[in-house]
């Protein structure tokens, strides 16, 4: 039988979800059809939540309407969107790893595309994206969007990153990976963590995240992370300094490179990666994000909490 894993939605208002109705829950053995408990979730019991709701699922994530109030060209195919949005949803998105699905209101749900929250303020969210496919082309200033959320699995890792205090944290961001690191940097900085950012413009030819870091005083080192020299710089830093947490944000090759570095230098480093899976529904239903890991389990990466070492 598939092992039980923790789920990013456990303990939230979105647990239990539709997976429990079909006995496909990620975390609860009962809601996977077993007779007895076998979970590792610390918190109010998932089966309990299910029974208390009398099996009725009325807590689906809903569609909000948002409006693009600004669209800025950054470089190449890279754009920044400023979207006016209901404050209730913004508050739920104000956390590390949050993302939403967006589409133009005139489009069908086929066009739902997951977008990391780059930044937010009281009435707006900011998204940086590449205009490269049918889901992202033709999004323009003034457009009304259908925004579904909140989703929280944008960063993969086993512990709660938002609880890290006074830790030494290294963040490696390359290219479009910059889109998912600003919120973590801001939150972690406020908790007294010592953050060092290794920044690589990658194919985007832009270090756009730096423009949004006012008031955040962290050490930033510019590198070409995939070059020998860049890798050496990183390795030397990790070897010569205490590092509790490493966050890598970029393409899969960046993650694989970080895994090699961690495993050769210090296996105890807690590692988080940007979630690069193809995500279509975000609810563990569609199967687009399934990844088969070494022990044979197929993991739904939109929701499962797992050590990225198992994936890369």
């Amino acid at each position: 039988m598939l092992k039980l894993y923790k789920c990013i939605d456990s303990g939230s208002e979105y647990c239990t979800c539709s997976l429990s109705d079909t006995k496909d829950c990620i975390s609860c053995s009962h809601l996977r059809g077993d007779d007895l408990c076998d979970c590792t979730w610390n918190g109010v019991c998932i089966l309990y939540e299910y029974i208390m709701k009398n099996g009725s699922q009325n807590n689906y994530r809903r569609d909000y309407k948002g409006q693009i109030v600004d669209k800025k060209f950054i470089s190449n195919e890279l754009y920044l969107l400023k979207i006016k949005l209901d404050n209730k949803l913004i508050r739920k998105l104000d956390t590390i790893g949050s993302y939403v699905f967006i589409r133009k209101d005139c489009n069908s749900s086929y066009y739902n595309t997951p977008m990391s929250i780059f930044d937010l303020d009281e009435h707006h969210i900011y998204i940086v994206y590449q205009e490269i496919g049918p889901k992202t082309k033709k999004i323009n200033k003034g457009d009304t969007l259908i925004i579904k959320g909140p989703y929280w699995g944008g960063l993969i890792g086993t512990s709660d990153l938002s609880k890290k205090e006074n830790c030494s944290i290294v963040i490696v961001a390359r290219g479009i990976g910059q889109s998912s690191i600003l919120l973590p940097i801001k939150k972690l900085y406020l908790k007294g963590n010592n953050i060092v950012l290794f920044l690589d413009q990658g194919k985007t030819s832009s270090l756009y995240c730096l423009d949004f870091m006012k008031g955040v005083n962290i050490k930033t080192i510019l590198i070409d992370s995939l070059s020998n020299e860049g890798e050496k710089t990183l390795k030397n830093y990790i070897k010569g300094n205490p590092v509790d947490v490493l966050i890598s944000a970029g393409a899969d090759m960046v993650h694989r490179q970080m895994k090699t570095i961690i495993e050769t230098i210090d296996k105890s480093i807690e590692w988080f990666v940007s979630n690069n899976s193809i995500i279509c529904c975000g609810e563990g239903v569609c199967g687009a994000c399934l990844k088969k890991i070494e022990n044979g389990d197929r993991i739904k990466l939109c929701k499962t909490i797992i050590d990225p070492r198992n994936i890369y």
């Binding site: 007895l36 408990c37 590792t40 610390n42 089966l47 309990y48």
Partner: protein, 425 residues
Amino acid sequence: MNRIVVIGGGWAGCAASIAAIKLGIEVVLIEKTDMLLGLGNVGGIMRNNGRFTAAEENILLGRGELFNITDKFSLHKNIDFPGHKHAYLYDVTKIEPAVRELLLSLGVILKLQKRAVDVVKEDGYIRAIILNDGETIYGDVFVETTGSTGPMGNCLKYGNGCAMCILRCPTFGPRVSISQKAGVTDIVGMKKDGSYGAFSGSCKLNKDSLSNEVINELEKEGVVLLPVPKDDIQRDKLSKKVCQQYAIDEYAENIILLDTGHAKMMTSFYPLEKLRKIKGLENARYEDPYSGGIGNSVRYLSIAPREDTMKVKGIKNLFCAGEKSGLFVGHTEAIVTGTLAGYNSVRHVYGKELLKLPTDLAIGDLISYTNKKMNTEEGLKDRYTFAGSTYFNRMLDKGLYSTDLHEIRNRVEDLNLLNIYNKIE
């Protein structure tokens, strides 16, 4: 240095730790909550009926430390209540720090608030235990004393839901069956009607919430019987509880309170409104479980198949004790099985033949009898304790029950087992 890892810090785990460390082995004890003793923090009944014999046997076998503590912290000694004689009631509000101090003074490495969630297995051996925070604890031999109670999903499915008991699953996380993680399927106990599990058999009322008359009598006598209004007597509830030694008519017709620091009430649960109709309990409130008016924890959902040496079948270096090792009820049962498991874990380390206690002793007989009975469906619906019901009747029939210290000593001596727990010959 050789190391024994004990998983679960209840009475059984504490007893196993002491038994092992006394023989000079390093012991790591993993406990998921912030307190040792588990359900021992809300129990308190010792030495009633056959438990007296078993306690004395364990002391003569060489391990009396925990019984010395329960004796020392007894609020009442040699009291009788329906179906039970010469009970000692220890003070549940004082006992845990004393046991913790003992374990620390012996050098046991305590890992509190650490939950064992998985194993590293190789060639039929467990090599290490994985904790919830990712730490890996390596060892030579492992003793599982994680009990069989809960977690919440089980209490919900087979009981009346989480009643917020001392195990505090929402805070510290669910119990994980280590033997099952190592590939050995758990045995599951049943109620008389064939459904899984059984309710814990007693709950505790906050003593200060009782009337002065009840408090005074309780503290003077140790026991108070309050008649249940006729309309509220429910005999059928008796079959659903763990403690079959308390499943006799007196327990349906009366509220029986024992002074264990709290007022221990000898029923699984009792609706608060009905409880407050009883004279003296007009303002009563529950101390454990907090929702004792609704339900209680559900037990016997995770028992490892084992040898009479307490070694788990199918894994070369895993032992078990307490409720994990059978449909046992009580602290004494946990301590005596824990002691044997801890002792045999050391013998295993040194490659010595494992000790199987003879059935001429109550302890050996309980361990062996329960093991046999658990292979039958009827046996899975029964509970086994020195204190009453099926097994105490067997003790009486076999002449194993005795309160005569000389007689018990002679038995142990004749079997050449005096102080055996202090020797690895």
